[in-house]
């Protein structure tokens, strides 16, 4: 595989005939020491004149044709070195012909040269020799283009370059996610990206080429840079991803995504952006640029849903659905972002559906051991199973066992699925400690899906609290509840955690049993018995502010004379007579109408038709009548007063 074989001389011959010395030495300096060495000695060959009579021309043509066939058969036999030798010889001979003939043969040979490089790359992987071959081939092409590109029909040029470039630098599709995300310095990938960067750099002086090729090279360059930086630093390079984003953004702005070439680069940029973020997710369980990620998912979705061809590409669909699934998981964890708000179970269900879709597309991609063993695949399976079991237990409408799905059944014997099965069982039996142990047996999954896992614990704790503790105990100490909700010895559930759960239950309308706290003795009282009257002041009294201002016989009126806390508006806002209620419909109008009715209803007794579901009502109902007695008393008092005068 050395550069100095039989064909090597021809090749160098050609190289020396090139007038672009600067370009040559640049290239040599950058990438290949072997190249620059022989240059000075053979410089004299450069100006050798060539006579071309008609008959000789035909002879040459035949010779070239023979070499071309020769090269192609070498290529078929995977004898890449020989094939390249033949193509390079064609180019070298053709360069001495007249312009017309030269152009035709140069295009043919260079195209084949590139193809042979890309085929070899695919079969044998990257080696130092191949690397220098590719770089020198690219130099050859770039030099040719600098000199001759204007003489070639643009459509032809586009077709040829597009084909060879996309072959030589194939898209890095979802396959990359099967690599281990933990591995820093993934050598083969870094080398490949380095080569792509170096090769594309050789084209920087080529100006007169179709704009599609320019943007293709630009995209390929950015993609390579993004991955190169990711695998060397394990960080998403934001400035590069911004450049990629801009390209995508412009294409969408110009509504140019229907154009085949543009759509190729847009798709490549988008999937790269998603892939690198998915990679980051697999590694850390988080995504830094969350909003951007959301945007890219939407863009890819709009592309795939507009094209039947794309929507049937299973690798793309795996990527899209996986991205959507993890987005649903991440959305709930962010509180600062102004993301679209969805309810917990809605999010989990959406996520489950996307994991399942990803799993189905995954099957269509064709399976092999490496893929099944990859973290990527395990995360899809685990994501689907865990979201399903959360819905199974926590939500009435979802009663399908994830393990019944064909996609899971075929893997039933795999150790990962078995471990996931025990997680599901422990969760179903609400055994927190066993659940924790089971989760610990899949450490990589637990790490990547840590957000989902903590959701799993939280749902379990929630159910235990409201279904196993609250209905049974009428009084229990906070520390006992903490112990019962503890996941592991090493993980403490703090007093605040528990209080937060209790209070959030009220906020979310999920406190099934009425409760009261004694925050001094740290006790929780459960049950309707503890419902007490919070105020002796019936709501009606708030209706008119005058009541209080006239009533001057209060004991400490002076002390709080500045207090202006007596109107109905205030009582309503503070929520003194709030009867917690769920609006029946999810519309703004019905929500506010319901609240307005409740505010104006001073009788304090909720009528059934106003209230979708009353729960945790915190006032005993007879408080409503206390003011009737008061009225009676007042009535007597006024009679007495008037009879006294």
């Amino acid at each position: 595989m050395s550069m100095h074989g039989d064909e090597g001389t021809n090749y160098e011959d050609f190289m020396m005939s090139d007038e672009e010395d600067v370009e040559m030495s640049d290239m040599g300096f950058e990438s290949d020491d072997d190249e620059s060495m022989p240059k000075p000695e053979e410089k004299k060959n450069e100006s050798k004149p060539i006579a071309t009579p008609e008959d000789r021309q035909q002879e040459v043509n035949n010779e070239l044709e023979r070499l071309y066939q020769h090269g192609n058969s070498h290529l078929d036999n995977q004898n890449f070195e020989a094939a390249r030798g033949a193509f390079m010889e064609i180019y070298s001979i053709a360069s001495k012909l007249d312009d017309n003939a030269f152009l035709i043969w140069a295009l043919r040979s260079l195209n084949e040269l590139m193809l042979s490089c890309s085929v070899e790359l695919r079969y044998n992987g990257i080696s130092p020799a191949l690397r220098s071959n590719i770089l020198s081939s690219c130099t050859l092409i770039s030099d040719f283009l600098i000199k001759k590109s204007t003489q070639i029909d643009e459509t032809l040029l586009l077709k040829m370059l597009w084909e060879s470039m996309t072959e030589l630098f194939p898209s890095i599709n979802v396959e990359i996610l099967f690599e281990s995300p933990k591995e820093k310095n993934n050598r083969p990938l870094i080398d490949r990206m380095q080569l792509q960067l170096d090769a594309i750099a050789l084209f920087k002086n080529v100006i007169m080429i179709p704009k599609e090729i320019k943007s293709l090279l630009q995209t390929k360059n950015l993609v390579a840079k993004l991955w190169f930086n990711y695998f060397t630093t394990m960080k998403v390079d934001l400035s590069t991803s911004n450049f990629l984003e801009n390209g995508v953004y412009n294409a969408f702005e110009l509504d140019a995504t229907k154009n085949a070439h543009i759509s190729y680069t847009v798709l490549e940029s988008l999937s790269t952006l998603l892939e690198v973020n998915c990679m980051e997710f697999l590694r850390t369980g988080e995504i830094e640029e969350h909003t951007q990620f959301q945007k890219h998912v939407n863009q890819l979705y709009s592309l795939t849903s507009a094209s039947i061809f794309l929507s049937q590409k299973s690798d793309l669909m795996v990527l899209l659905n996986f991205s959507k699934a993890i987005l649903c998981l991440l959305n709930g964890d962010r509180q600062n972002d102004n993301i679209v708000v969805t309810k917990f179970f809605t999010r989990i269900r959406e996520s489950k559906d996307c994991f399942l879709k990803a799993l189905k597309s995954f099957e269509e991609m064709g399976n092999n051991e490496k893929k099944f063993a990859s973290l990527f695949h395990q995360i899809i399976i685990a994501g689907f199973i865990i979201t399903s079991i959360i819905l199974l237990k926590g939500h009435d409408n979802d009663k399908i066992d994830p393990f019944d799905f064909e996609q899971v059944r075929i893997l039933a014997c795999s150790p990962t699925v078995q471990k996931l099965h025990s997680i599901a069982e422990d969760f179903a039996s609400l055994n927190l400690r066993k659940l924790y142990t089971s989760v610990q047996r899949v450490p990589e999954i637990a790490h990547t899906l840590h957000i989902l896992i903590s959701n799993l614990y939280r749902v379990a704790q929630w159910i235990i609290l409201w279904e196993r503790i609250a209905p049974v105990y009428s009084c229990i100490s906070i520390s006992d509840v903490r112990e019962k909700l503890r996941i592991a010895d090493s993980i403490d559930m703090t007093r605040d955690d528990l209080l937060t759960i209790l209070m959030m239950s009220i906020m979310k309308g999920k406190a099934i049993v009425f409760f009261k706290l004694d925050l001094i003795n740290d006790l929780i009282y459960f049950g309707e018995d503890y419902k007490v009257q919070l105020t002796t002041h019936p709501k009606e009294n708030f209706r008119s502010q005058e009541v209080d201002t006239q009533n001057k016989d209060g004991p400490c009126e002076d002390e709080y004379s500045s207090a202006k806390l007596s109107d109905l508006e205030y009582a309503n806002n503070v929520g003194m007579y709030v009867v917690p209620q769920k609006p029946k419909q999810n519309t703004i109008d019905s929500f506010f109408d319901g609240l307005k009715k409740a505010r104006e209803n001073v009788d304090n007794v909720p009528r059934d038709e106003d209230v979708g579901m009353v729960f945790n009502e915190f006032q005993p109902s007879n408080v409503a009548f206390s003011n009737k007695y008061n009225d009676l008393v007042e009535l007597v008092a006024s009679r007495l007063r008037s009879s006294a005068t």
Partner: protein, 421 residues
């Protein structure tokens, strides 16, 4: 805080900031000079704030003056009326102006601004209400300037409700309108040049109103309402606050409430009105939430968990308990539930009534006593003076027995007597 405001809006805001002693004396001086320069540039300085401006600018006291004898045109006259706070006259000018159909809503917007400037919120709301009823669907066909004026009128209507501390009505009106016309989102997200009330201020009004007036238990429903995500897109602050409150992260919430929202409200002449009440009401709302779920808790714990000064917590809880007659007591550091019967109030009243009755009875008794004594007197006097007659008319003695008469009347007139026993 003044960057966006020009001319009239700017001088009114400067006046507000000066009146409330905002800024360092150097900054205040700059503001005052800017205001004076503006008034001089329009050649009309008879603003009610003139003396404050002059005082703060450090210039020697000057009287208001009018450079031009007569305002050049109608527009200038109008400006002068507003500068000198002759709002009624300015309104009259607007109303008597030739009604151009193309400027109908823009005129109405000017009118509602005048009403707000003159603190006549009732009429401002009326105006908004009338406009709301007038064009239910037609407004989609309005020219650009008219359409946004139409929308801004509604926003100003909400602002009035906020200023009047009608928080629920404010957000109710706002979201009702939003639901009918999502285009209001556009108006709220555009960059404004010299607004009367800025979009940021309107959004803060809505944010505060929602937080204060929607029950804690319903926040979690509120954020999922239809069309709400459009609003959260332009007002992430509200969503952030609601999420914190739903997660019961009260301390982080109050951090925002006191350090982000508070300064903005202090700076704004419009937010300022509704804010002072809302600020403490929100705290009371959270205190009440804790009281509602607790039998006993410590003031220091609350202060700690809410991130609010202990003295303030204690004072406000005491106020809350007193004014809402809550069945709680504070003793030392502890707030505890002190049960009282449903009829406790009524019992108090009955006790008071008993006193009234006692008094009544006592006074009746003393009346009787006096009456009886009087009768005794009369009797003895009669006895003295009619000794002779007595001896002559012995047979009629039985009819004139005064003791019998008084005893009889006691029983009949005072049925209350038994209460006394």
């Amino acid at each position: 805080m003044l960057n966006n405001f020009q001319g009239l809006n700017r001088i009114e805001r400067i006046n507000y900031l000066l009146a409330l002693n905002h800024g360092t004396s150097e900054v205040r001086k700059q503001w005052a000079i800017q205001a004076i320069q503006y008034l001089q540039s329009v050649g009309f300085t008879s603003s009610p704030h003139w003396n404050r401006f002059v005082h703060n600018s450090g210039l020697p006291p000057t009287k208001c003056f009018q450079l031009k004898r007569h305002p050049a045109d109608e527009e200038e006259t109008f400006l002068q009326k507003v500068i000198s706070h002759k709002f009624t006259e300015a309104l009259f000018m607007l109303e008597s102006k030739e009604m151009d159909k193309v400027e109908h809503y823009q005129n109405a917007e000017k009118a509602i601004q005048l009403l707000i400037r003159s603190k006549d919120y009732k009429n401002a709301e009326d105006l908004e209400y009338r406009i709301r009823g007038r064009h239910p669907d037609l407004h989609k066909e309005l020219p650009e300037g008219e359409l946004s004026a139409y929308r801004r009128i509604h926003l100003l209507g909400c602002a009035c409700l906020f200023i009047e501390e009608k928080y629920f009505d404010c957000c109710h009106t706002f979201f009702n309108y939003l639901n009918r016309d999502l285009g209001v989102i556009e108006v709220l997200s555009e960059n404004q040049y010299d607004p009367f009330i800025s979009n940021e201020e309107i959004l803060l009004m809505v944010t505060i109103s929602v937080l204060v007036s929607i029950p804690l238990d319903n926040y979690d429903n509120f954020i999922y309402l239809e069309n709400m995500s459009y609003f959260f897109d332009i007002c992430p602050l509200l969503l952030k606050c609601l999420k914190l409150l739903i997660k019961t992260k009260f301390q982080s919430f109050f951090q925002i409430w006191h350090t982000v929202i508070n300064p903005k409200c202090q700076e704004s002449p419009f937010l300022h009105y509704g804010w002072s009440e809302a600020k403490s009401m929100m705290r009371s709302k959270i205190y009440f939430f804790y009281l509602r779920i607790s039998k006993r808790l410590e003031v220091s714990y609350l202060s700690n968990i809410l991130g609010i000064e202990e003295a303030l917590v204690r004072e406000e809880i005491a106020k809350l308990i007193y004014s809402a007659k809550l069945n709680f007591c504070i003793k030392d550091d502890i707030v505890f539930y002190k049960s009282s019967h449903v009829l406790a109030d009524a019992a108090e009243g009955i006790k008071r009534n008993k006193l009234l009755i006692d008094n009544l009875v006592t006074s009746e008794r003393s009346n009787n006593k006096t009456l009886r004594e009087e009768l005794e007197n009369i009797k003895s006097r009669l006895a003295d003076s009619t000794l002779l007659a007595n001896s002559l008319l012995t047979h009629s003695n039985e009819h004139m027995d005064f003791d019998e008469i008084t005893n009889f009347s006691d029983d009949e007139s005072l049925s209350l007597e038994y209460e006394n026993d």
